[in-house]
Every structure is written in structure tokens, then in C-alpha cells.
């Protein structure tokens, strides 16, 4: 009995879907609108041609929205034999927040309401690394203050990311080069990932994000700094639009004390491998077994 019902249901659903697909294809020549939204597949599952089409659509929408015709949207794939890792020298960081604003400038974060992917924690030398005692709103005349040290935190690009585990729709995943990305088109905005992340690295667009036209960074990646819509989660992607083309992330290049390091873990001669061999390295909240690719170290 029940088997028969399921068969009938499946039949009806597939018949309905194929009719809709047929109608949409016949009426417009190319699939579009709500029918496509019902039938659509995840971006990464699409064929290369379809991806190209969607990128072109995104590009056009974005150009129209911001009134700029130099905006490009790419989906540069992960390079072979590359696993990214990040190093941050706590003995050098002075807490100047240049990285925070360079990140906003590069990654088209909303200016109002404000979203920062990097948060710099000020901690007292007498407490050591103690998140409960840290302060992100410090604002002295000059830094570093002799009694404090500074610990910038952004996405740790975990090898076992709790945010990916909890996502109910697989809108976030780990790329072959280790970057944890979000497909903003697939994200429901349920914010489960935000509560799962032990580093506070994910941020939610509560309202339509605003970036002035002249402040937009036109070189965008579909999972990176492409301006996000309202109601989705966003996070650091190691500047995916830069690093997959070989450039350093924006925060690395702006750091005035050179505390930020970046490289390929699979390359014996990379600066990351050198510092992991030669320096004292640790990760944040190691006991949670998230296995971050973000290494803090002390060069002196």
C-alpha cells in the first residue's frame, strides 16, 4: 500500500517538475524566474557553461546596483597542491587595527550597519590569553600600551569546522585549498553556524548592507568579496579573490609591523613552513579540536 503511494507521489512530483521546466524553457528560451529557483542546483554542482552564465548575471546585477561597469565576478578555483595557512606574530602585533579597515576596504563589508571580519582583542599581560577579560573597544591615544598585548581574531579556517557541520543546507563548506566559504545564494540566514563558531568569526547581514559606489572593490569572487545581500552570513575567506591569484591577503600587506604571515602549507620552502619549524606556534582553543589553519606564534 505505502509503496504504491510513494510511487504515485514521486511520479506526480517528477511529472510536475518536468512540466514546469518544459513550460519555462518553451516560454523564455532560457530558464529564469521562480521555476528555475525551484529547480536550481547548488552553484558548485553546475556545469562550467552554466557557471559562466550565472557569473555574467551576477556581474550585471552588481554593476546595475552600484552603477559601476568595472565590477567583475570570478569563480577562480583552488590551485593544485595548495593548502593555505596563516601566521600571526603576537610578539609584534601592536593593535593598531590597520588590518581591520584594510579588510573592510578589500572585502566590501557593509559600512552601515558596520561589519568587521577581524576583531582585535586587547589583553592584559597580567592575565595572559583570557577571552573573558579581553576588550575590543580599546581606544588609547597610541598603541601598544606597555601593560597590554593584542590578539587579532578572524576566521581560523578550521580543518574540522563546526560551522560547516551544523549548516542545515550545506551552504558553507571547505574548499580543497582549506578556505571555508559560504554560498550567499544558498544561505538561509538561520545563523546556526554563527552559534557553532567558537571564534565569533561569522557575521550576519541584519539589513541591506551599504557600501558607497566609489568604495566598492570591483575585483570580486563569487564566494568572497562579492557584495552580499540582506539576510546571509559572511566571513573571512583569506581574501579568496587575491590569494587564488597568488597575491597576499590585504591584511598581510597593510600590517605596519609585519606581524601577519601567509603561505602554502604544502610547500616546504614557504614562510609558513619555516615559521612552524622555527618558532613557538599555537592555535586558539585547541581543546575544541577544530584544528585551525591560523597559527599564532612568537618570533622573539
Amino acid at each position: 500500500m505505502s509503496e504504491k503511494t510513494i510511487d504515485r507521489r514521486t511520479l506526480m512530483i517528477s511529472a510536475g517538475l518536468s512540466t514546469m521546466a518544459g513550460i519555462s524553457a518553451a516560454s523564455s528560451g532560457k530558464s529564469a524566474g521562480w521555476v528555475e529557483r525551484l529547480l536550481k542546483r547548488r552553484f558548485v554542482e553546475l556545469s562550467d557553461e552554466r557557471r559562466e552564465e550565472i557569473l555574467a548575471e551576477l556581474e550585471e546585477t552588481c554593476r546595475k546596483k552600484y552603477g559601476r561597469d568595472d565590477i567583475t565576478v570570478s569563480d577562480t578555483r583552488a590551485l593544485d597542491g595548495v593548502e593555505f595557512a596563516y601566521g600571526l606574530d603576537l610578539s609584534r602585533c601592536v593593535g593598531c587595527r590597520r588590518c581591520v579597515y584594510a579588510c573592510v576596504h578589500e572585502n566590501n563589508q557593509s559600512r552601515d550597519p558596520q561589519i568587521h571580519w577581524i576583531r582585535v582583542l586587547e589583553m592584559g599581560k597580567d592575565h595572559g590569553i583570557d577571552f573573558a577579560e579581553s576588550d575590543i573597544y580599546y581606544d588609547p591615544e597610541e598603541v601598544p600600551e606597555p601593560e597590554n598585548f593584542y590578539l587579532p581574531v578572524a576566521c581560523q579556517q578550521c580543518r574540522t569546522p563546526p560551522c560547516v557541520k551544523v549548516c542545515p543546507v550545506k551552504a558553507t563548506w571547505q574548499e580543497p585549498d582549506g578556505i571555508v566559504v559560504i554560498d550567499p545564494d544558498w544561505c538561509l540566514g538561520c545563523r546556526c553556524c554563527m552559534s557553532a563558531c567558537p571564534y565569533g568569526a561569522r557575521h550576519f547581514n541584519w539589513t541591506e548592507p551599504t557600501v558607497a559606489t566609489e568604495e566598492i572593490n570591483p575585483d570580486t569572487h563569487v564566494f568572497g568579496n562579492l557584495p552580499r545581500p540582506k539576510g546571509v552570513v559572511e566571513k573571512c575567506t583569506f581574501c579568496i579573490q587575491r590569494t587564488r591569484k597568488g597575491r597576499y591577503p590585504a591584511c598581510v600587506e597593510i600590517c605596519p609591523v609585519g606581524a601577519r604571515k601567509f603561505g602554502n602549507l604544502l610547500d616546504e620552502d614557504s614562510e609558513m613552513r619555516y615559521l612552524m619549524r622555527e618558532k613557538r606556534v599555537f592555535v586558539l582553543k585547541e581543546e575544541l579540536n577544530t584544528k585551525p589553519r591560523f597559527y599564532y606564534f612568537f618570533a622573539t
Partner: protein, 240 residues
């Protein structure tokens, strides 16, 4: 013989385990103090506690912060730069002071007689305060006496100012090693290719190398001050 019955037996010890009224009073006082402290700490975290000068009462964007250029142009020829080994072709921007009118030094010094005596400088370079290493450090330890446009290593080899890292590396060997590998200092360019370095002197004044404190960029906005464009929209919705 029968034992005489004690007319007034003292209460057994077990009675003392129950708290008397005085200990209840102590507990009550402790409870009230703790609840007061908890309440106080909650109130402290509220909106009213943040002063104007506390930071985070306004959101700043990257264009509103002064003195930092976020558009980083890579140096020309960066693709060919190499790094790592000691004799690498380290690409660096022009050394500090090279475009300030001081350089070339020979413009003045070629006509002057070399005075190797350690002395207080008075007429020129009197703004230089030497706070670097032992007190007997002197100009001609690093600057070459015969040709001032170059620097001199301890072994007598003359080097140009854009190779000054070799000079610093004579004493600061471990830092020099880290610098070559890209661990000490700031670099720009390609993680898998050419990159530009900075000379030691770009960040550390060789005459007084301690790193100076700098002004931080503004803190993030606190949630209670997160006024945003949807505020009107939300209020309208609340009125309906």
C-alpha cells in the same frame, strides 16, 4: 543499685549541626551581598555605562580614517624578485632619506676633511640622537669615511644603502635570517612568487631603532550604538 536519672541532661552534640538563627542571619547577609554584586555587574554592562570617550560609540569606514593608504601599488619588477638565500635579489623601495635632499652625501662630504674623532655634532646632523647599542657606537662604525655614499661592513666591503640589511645583519643575525625568510618585517606581492621587502631602516631609524608607538584606528561600534539605515523601517513596522 539503680542509676540516678539525670534531671537535666545536656543536649546531644548532633543538635549543633542544625544552623541556629545567628548563622541564618549570616547566610542572608551573604546572599544579599552577592545578589547586589551580580545586579551591579549587569547594570555596568548597559548602555549608560559607556562614556563618549570610551570608544565604539560611532561606526567609522575605511575612508574616514586618516593617514592610511589602503590602495597598495606593487613595486615595478616584482615578478623577478627572489628571496630566501642570503644573496637573494631582495626587491626594496628606495631607502629612507634617499629622496629627501640629503642624498648623495658626497655633495657636501667630498669637499670636507674626514674627522675621525668622536664628538658632539653641532653644525649638521645635530638632530641625530644615537640610541643604538653600546655607548661607544659611532657614525663611522657603519658609514664609510672615504666615500659617504656607501656603507661599510666590518670586513671592509662597501655596500650601497639599498643593501643596508647586510650591515644590520652583522649583529642581528637571527633577525636577518627571519627577515630573509619573510618572518620578520612586512612584505607585499605574491605568496607564490615575487615579493617586495622593506629595508630595516624603513621601520627602524638606524640611529634610534626602537619601534615607536602609533595611533590606533577607531574601535568597532558597540552594539547599542549600531544605528543603521533600517532604523526608520523598523520603527514604522513597530507603529503599525
Amino acid at each position: 543499685m539503680e542509676k540516678p536519672i539525670d534531671p537535666d541532661p545536656s543536649p546531644p552534640d548532633s543538635d549543633k549541626l542544625l544552623p541556629g538563627s545567628s548563622s541564618l542571619a549570616v547566610l542572608l547577609v551573604v546572599f544579599i551581598t552577592v545578589s547586589f554584586l551580580v545586579l551591579f555587574s549587569i547594570v555596568r554592562g548597559g548602555v549608560g555605562h559607556v562614556t563618549e570617550s570610551g570608544g565604539g560609540s560611532r561606526a567609522f569606514g575605511p575612508t574616514e580614517v586618516s593617514g592610511v593608504d589602503f590602495e597598495i601599488e606593487l613595486l615595478p619588477g616584482i615578478e623577478d624578485a627572489t628571496s630566501g638565500p642570503e644573496d637573494g635579489n631582495f626587491l626594496v623601495p628606495p631607502p629612507p632619506w634617499s629622496e629627501s635632499g640629503f642624498f648623495p652625501c658626497s655633495e657636501c662630504h667630498s669637499e670636507m676633511e674626514v674627522n675621525p674623532e668622536r664628538r658632539e655634532l653641532e653644525e649638521m646632523h645635530d638632530d641625530i640622537e644615537l640610541v643604538h647599542g653600546p655607548s661607544d657606537r659611532w657614525c663611522l662604525d657603519c658609514h664609510n669615511s672615504d666615500d659617504r655614499d656607501v656603507l661599510r661592513l666590518v670586513n671592509g666591503r662597501l655596500i650601497s644603502f639599498d643593501e643596508s640589511y647586510l650591515l644590520c645583519g652583522q649583529c642581528h643575525g637571527t633577525i636577518f635570517r627571519d627577515w630573509r625568510q619573510g618572518i620578520h618585517g612586512r612584505r607585499q606581492g605574491y605568496w607564490n612568487g615575487g615579493k617586495s621587502y622593506l629595508l630595516c631602516a624603513h621601520c627602524h631609524d638606524p640611529h634610534a631603532p626602537a619601534f615607536h608607538t602609533i595611533a590606533p584606528l577607531p574601535p568597532p561600534v558597540r552594539p547599542q550604538f549600531l544605528a543603521h539605515q533600517a532604523q526608520g523601517e523598523i520603527q514604522e513596522a513597530a507603529h503599525e
